[in-house]
Symmetry: C2
Subunit: 201 residues, 2 copies
């Protein structure tokens, strides 16, 4: 595979595939940080890395996957959501709670997500990036299966419930939430999410 | 910690009141950071500051108020809660949502609280301090007016809902939650809190 990044290298310094991959990720981080998730483009990332956009796609896939790789996220949220959403609105609250709890109970997921949250709380740039990614890649997909004029707001509030649960349970460690079983949490939180998804109060 | 505690001064170097106040606050910050909220004591803070415990109480009041002053929090949560709790469980969900929204919409409150959240997300020590303070000074008081074996867990989940709402609305800025009116948020969130306070699902 000829994946040299000629724009940045002197002659006689060919890059290996691992090297190119890293150059693209560095360029992607800089692009997302500078423009936010929405305005960033695979084309601009490729240009900064000195490679063809097709090569970026070959390594990482579409923009969402480039973001996930650049931010070192352990999974693309879009990978798990389709299964959860496929069952329709009925029981969706419980499936979402279980998905969140299982993801966040894994330190390999929690670490990078906390890094993102931290950068979001320290600067507007990080907040914008997280906001756009969460809105576009996650909430938008859930909202798309709901009905009603306030569907988007209700999805926000369901997300707020889960964000708060993972923060207090896994980060701050508030008791008894931190030590409660998944089943105890699901029993109380799933109906809350379901009511938001079904149409609110 | 500075080393200007009065106890360690030479005889001809009396401290002014402002100076002593600052010495106590520095000692308090060090004590809370070293031991967490629960294990920290006014006595140990006074000893580190080289003053009598009665002087700490004279300047700041009980430990909760010393903490609020040391962390530069704009209000003591305990100051607002009694009014909100005085009305009993009926309508408490709505009163709590309105209290949270009005506090967090004030940048003078939001700034210091975000600083605390940030330090909680960057280290176990900060997390422990926040956890103990939130549990003791806030959740404990709400839980005390509720009944049922899972009252404490339900209060945690109500708090999780509000923590998530303020994070997504005021920090991350997720739309449409960030631009929704208080009334729109109250209409959807108050019933959620009320159900947790009334006994869950």
């Amino acid at each position: 595979m000829t994946d040299v990044a000629p724009g940045r290298r002197g002659p006689g310094r060919p890059a290996g595939a691992g090297d190119t991959r890293q150059v693209i990720l560095d360029a992607a981080r800089a692009e997302f940080a500078a423009k936010g998730y929405d305005a960033a483009s695979v084309r601009a990332i490729a240009r900064a890395a000195g490679v063809d956009p097709a090569l970026v796609h070959h390594y990482f896939g579409p923009k969402e996957k480039v973001f996930v790789a650049a931010m070192d996220l352990p999974i693309a949220p879009g990978d798990a959501l389709p299964d959860v959403l496929a069952g329709g609105v009925e029981g969706l609250g419980e499936r979402l709670v279980r998905l969140f709890l299982s993801l966040w109970s894994d330190p390999a997921f929690r670490g990078p997500m906390l890094g993102m949250l931290r950068s979001a709380s320290t600067g507007e740039q990080g907040a914008a990036m997280l906001r756009e990614f969460v809105s576009g890649a996650m909430l938008g997909r859930v909202g798309a299966v709901l009905e009603g004029p306030d569907a988007a707001l209700r999805v926000n509030l369901a997300a707020a419930q889960m964000v708060g649960v993972v923060l207090l349970r896994f980060v701050v460690g508030v008791e008894p939430l931190a030590s409660a079983t998944d089943e105890e949490v699901v029993a109380l939180v799933a109906p809350t999410l379901q009511r938001y998804l079904d149409g609110g109060s």
